[in-house]
Amino acid sequence: MYVRITEICGRIAAGIATAFCCAAMAGCMKYGPLPQESFSYPMPDDGTAEGVFIICEGNFMYGNASMSFYLPSTGELQNEIFARANGMKLGDVAQSMTMYDGTGYVVVNNSGVIFGMDPETFVVKRVIRGMGSPRYILFHGDKAYVTSLYEPEITVLDAHTMQPVGKIPTPGHTSTEQMAVFGDLMYVTCWSYDNTVLKIDTRRDEIVGNIEVRNQPRQLTIDSRGKLWVLTDGGSAEGGTTDAPALYRIDASNGTVEKEFVFRRGDSPKGLCSDGAGETIYFLNGDLWRMDCDAENLPDEPFLESSGTIYYAIGVDPHNGDVYVGDAVDYQQQGVVYRLNDSGRCLDTLRVGITPTAFCFR
């Protein structure tokens, strides 16, 4: 009996080991080229083009940034369109996307690259390299400007060839972030551990002034009244300051601060943007908030309350005013995007890539 038991057990163990090895040998080593797919989402010339690109930054040092594409009219959602259309990865920490002259430019911060892609097929048309830690790209006239998280300069490119044609040194400011143009003036926030908004003359590509604000100015936008709105995040998240963050309304024609809306100490507002008409300002501060451009005080009630969500990004569709809010959930799983109408009703909920961080509308 005893011998029998040991024999049976021995055979079982040998069987398990053999089956395990065979299964493992047969069912793995799929690493290799990513399968490539064809997409076609034409953009009619009659002004009815629609489609939202959702930029998901992924995790720092994972190389798992991704892009999703959403058609509001049909509710169709395509995830990982960059990898699927191009058979390659988007990179590490996708930061922003800008449409210009029929091309979508996606800035991938920690990969040090900008991809120019066809917004109808999602196929890469251009690859712009040679910049350290790029953050945003802005087109103005025949030039494109690229900011950087770590370099004390703004790179100037030829908007047609995308070849570098110059640099704008930003001495003392090693983090340049978002840009907005008013006439020939370009305003640039200096974000990381900084407190300055630079004023640059785009004709000469020189700094002609700066605006001192509270700690860590990050996003900015210009409304329909020619007012520059600048949002500082206070830097409390980085532990470097206890200064209360603020929202500024600035006369974009001369850079004069008109109004300072101060948040509570410890708040971390972010995601400033305006609607397509430039009449309403949106931002995140735990909840989603919005206010009229003429408002003299911060709103009392949020537009959308947080319910355990980590709202991370906002975008407002310039065509219909729908609001898109990105929820990072836990920063380590597929994020969620809520599409809201103007009254705050949720129209759709989308499961996208990790940490949706920016929206770009075709």
Binding site: C9, Y31, G63, S111
Partner: protein, 730 residues
């Protein structure tokens, strides 16, 4: 009389801890009689050699002295001393894997992490040589395994874990991995387990020397030198290991494409580029000094002092497009560890004491290097972490056997940590440096009793009380039991424990909200088939199933878009699974011998947190980077002076996201690996020469073990070992 004293100590060890019934003694003697290949002892606690009584000596002494007779034992000179204990009292119900010295010194190029990956069912997360290697036991995290070197904890008070890539397997003479509840006897806080490492004296008198030169692909060089001298009372061993590598292996990069553009910058063609691993060179220097002194009746004194100087660059991701402007990271570490041990047998008692000192200087730097036209060059430091850790250690222990049925032990340890950590961040002149200066005292006291009421049944109870600074005083109990019916080849085991792990100092300082200690409850059951013989075959099998629940699991999650990682408590993580280990030995006749060691694991480690919100898909999902299936097999074939070793391992798909989304970028694809080595030993009058040629990744597979970090294809290593003969005696 060193050897005599050694025998006395071992005999006492046998008497104290190997209270075995007569039936098992016969089995032990038969094991002794046949040749034993270097092998990993069974996961379930097969008695890996803790020394071994030579067969011809042992045959005349089949009667093991009772524990209370050690004083009157005759002193006899014998040659090599190896003990095959059948079922030591100390190992009642214990689930562990023992790796003996012959396996650890098999390959100079391997770290302890590499060894454990092949020899145990634990998962070792690593992205190759020169990169961090962390141990995950039974689905837990790397900080849930306590690593103990000569009795002193190696876990960082800042990071909680020990990077196993910093431990060359050649510097360890004995390693044992204790699983789950079985770890309580070795250390507290090991929610996954405990890895116990020792240095031990070689059994050689006179001068000894061993020199190994290893040359491998990607300009990798390993130089190992060991000098030793010993007489009857004193022994000195000095080991030096220097490893350097450019590590710039080529790989086809499927994350990128090389585009061909026209004059207008438009893409007209593409290919996947063949790139080289960048910023990945490393240099490690290890120096180990061991001193052993037998003071006769005063006991035995041992000193182990280990200095390490490591400089490693951290490779760029495969998704990195930087050219002249490179974003580079590096880590430099200088660590000194030293432990002094005293051990004495006094009547029925074994007494021991230890004192230790540890100092680490760890620097992590992120920098950007820019090249400007005419030789201009600028280096920008973006992050500069400096960590200084000083630890003082003390320990006293007592063991005693009471009759043949009861064994008692007590142990008390104290660790005093002083840490200072700072990030200068010079790239942001206005930024405030992140800095903290802290200290922590950790006291741990253990009493344990092992009781064998009848020959076939054993019960062990461990009660550990810890005091962690002013933060808490957890009580950690564990209970183990075993039953060995019939002829003694089958043992049933079971164990259970409640365990705690306190937040590390980094957990404490970086947490946004107060961080709570982790509380674990674990139990396992197992069966061991030991020394089953069928004609020329002999095999051992162990099967284990376990279940554990860890409340308040501390998880570092990426916040602020992943640029900042912060600790938080997860409500509950449940781990359960099964492990199997198999050792087969086939004596083919003549000089041919074959041995096969295999380990297999099925691991479920589930995140059972409270949902963050309605869209949280992580609840009930496997924790990131923990494989559900894994296995490793090592085959050894020897014929006279030739030997062939074949290693195979497999890891199933691993998810990198908490929701286990099967996206392109959300998982590490499964892979298997094959390595082969051929060795030959040439003995001459003056020296032994050993040659070893190894092929890693035999089938030149392309794979990743971490996101965006490709691994090298087929690569080669050649080593030559020279052991002069100085007329030494064993």
């Amino acid at each position: 009389m060193l050897r005599t004293a050694w025998f006395r100590r071992l005999a006492a060890c046998v008497a104290l801890a190997v209270l075995q019934p007569a039936a098992y003694r016969n089995a032990a003697a038969s094991v002794v009689a046949h040749y034993r290949m270097p092998a990993v002892a069974m996961h379930s606690g097969l008695p890996a050699t803790c020394g071994m009584i030579s067969s011809h000596e042992m045959h005349g002494k089949d009667k093991i002295p009772p524990p209370d007779d050690t004083e009157n034992m005759p002193e006899e000179r014998i040659d090599s001393v190896t003990v095959v204990g059948a079922r030591p009292m100390k190992d009642i119900g214990v689930q562990k894997t023992v790796i003996d010295g012959s396996v650890l010194s098999e390959d100079v190029t391997l770290s302890l992490g590499d060894m454990l990956a092949h020899a145990t069912p634990a998962f070792v997360r690593s992205s190759g040589r020169g990169s961090m290697s962390s141990l995950s036991v039974r689905g837990t995290g790397s900080s849930h395994t306590r690593v103990v070197w000569n009795g002193m904890s190696m876990n960082s008070p800042l990071f909680g874990m020990m990077d196993l890539s910093y431990i060359p397997s050649y510097f360890i003479d004995g390693a044992a991995l204790y699983y789950g509840a079985s770890s309580v006897a070795a250390a507290g806080g090991g929610l996954g387990g405990a890895l116990v490492l020792d240095t031990r004296p070689e059994d050689i008198l006179g001068f000894g020397m061993r020199y190994i030169q290893g040359i491998a692909s990607f300009r990798t060089f390993d130089e190992y030198l060991k000098l030793s001298y010993g007489n009857d009372r004193v022994r000195s061993e000095t080991s030096l290991l220097v490893t350097t590598s450019r590590n710039d292996f080529p790989y086809r990069n499927y994350a990128k494409k090389d585009f061909v553009t026209d004059d207008y910058g438009n893409i007209v063609g593409w290919s996947y580029p063949v790139e080289r691993n960048r910023n990945c060179d490393y240099r490690d220097i290890h120096l180990l000094q061991e001193l052993y002194y037998d003071a006769g009746d005063a006991g035995r004194f041992d000193l182990s002092a280990w200095y390490m100087d490591s400089s490693r660059n951290l490779p760029l991701l495969s998704t990195d497009y930087s050219e002249s402007n490179s974003s580079l990271s590096s880590q430099k570490e200088k660590t000194f560890r030293s432990v002094v041990r005293w051990e004495k047998y006094a009547g029925k008692n074994k007494l021991s004491a230890k004192a230790g000192y540890h100092y680490s200087d760890i620097r992590y730097t992120e920098r950007t290097e820019r090249a400007y036209g005419e030789g201009g060059h600028e280096v920008q430091i973006r992050s500069a972490w400096r960590n200084y850790i000083t630890t003082l250690f003390g320990n006293a222990a007592w063991e005693r056997g009471l009759g043949r049925k009861l064994y008692l032990a007590a142990d008390i340890s104290v660790l005093q940590h002083f840490v200072y950590t700072i990030n200068d961040k010079p790239v942001r002149p206005v930024a405030q440096p992140v800095v903290f200066d802290d200290a922590r005292t950790e006291l741990s006291a253990l009493v344990s009793a092992r009781y064998r009421p009848v020959e076939s049944v054993g019960i062990a109870l461990n009660l550990r009380q810890e005091v962690i600074g002013t933060d808490g005083a957890p009580f950690i109990p564990s209970l183990q039991a075993e039953w060995t019916p019939g002829r003694g080849n089958i043992t049933f085991k079971a164990s259970a424990a409640r365990n705690y792990r306190f937040p590390t100092l980094n957990d404490k300082h970086f947490a946004v909200e107060p961080i709570m200690p982790e509380v674990g409850f674990t139990y396992d059951v197992g069966i061991v088939f030991r020394n089953i013989r069928r004609e020329r075959f002999a095999y051992d099998i162990s099967l284990t199933a376990y279940d554990s629940r860890i409340r308040n699991w501390i998880l570092w999650y990426p916040d602020k878009g992943g640029t900042q990682w912060l600790p938080t408590n997860i409500r509950l993580v449940r781990s359960f699974g099964a492990e199997a280990a198999l050792n087969i030995e086939w004596r083919m006749g003549g000089d041919w011998r074959i041995a096969l060691d295999g380990v297999f694991a099925w691991t479920r480690s589930l995140n059972m947190r409270k949902p963050i919100n309605d869209n949280d898909n992580a609840v009930g999902k496997q924790l990131p980077y923990v494989p559900v299936w894994s296995g490793a097999v090592t085959g050894r074939l020897s014929w006279r002076q030739w030997r062939l070793v074949y290693k195979w391992d497999y890891y199933s798909e691993r998810f990198t996201s908490t929701d286990n989304s099967a996206t392109i970028s959300g998982r590490i694809l499964p892979y298997f690996m094959n390595c082969i080595s051929v060795g030959y030993t040439l003995g001459t009058r003056f020296a032994d020469f050993s040659f070893n040629f190894k092929v890693n990744n035999l089938f030149d597979e392309e794979y990743e073990t971490e996101m965006s970090r490709p691994m090298p294809g087929r690569n080669y290593g050649l080593s030559i070992e020279i052991t002069p003969r100085f007329a030494s005696r064993r």
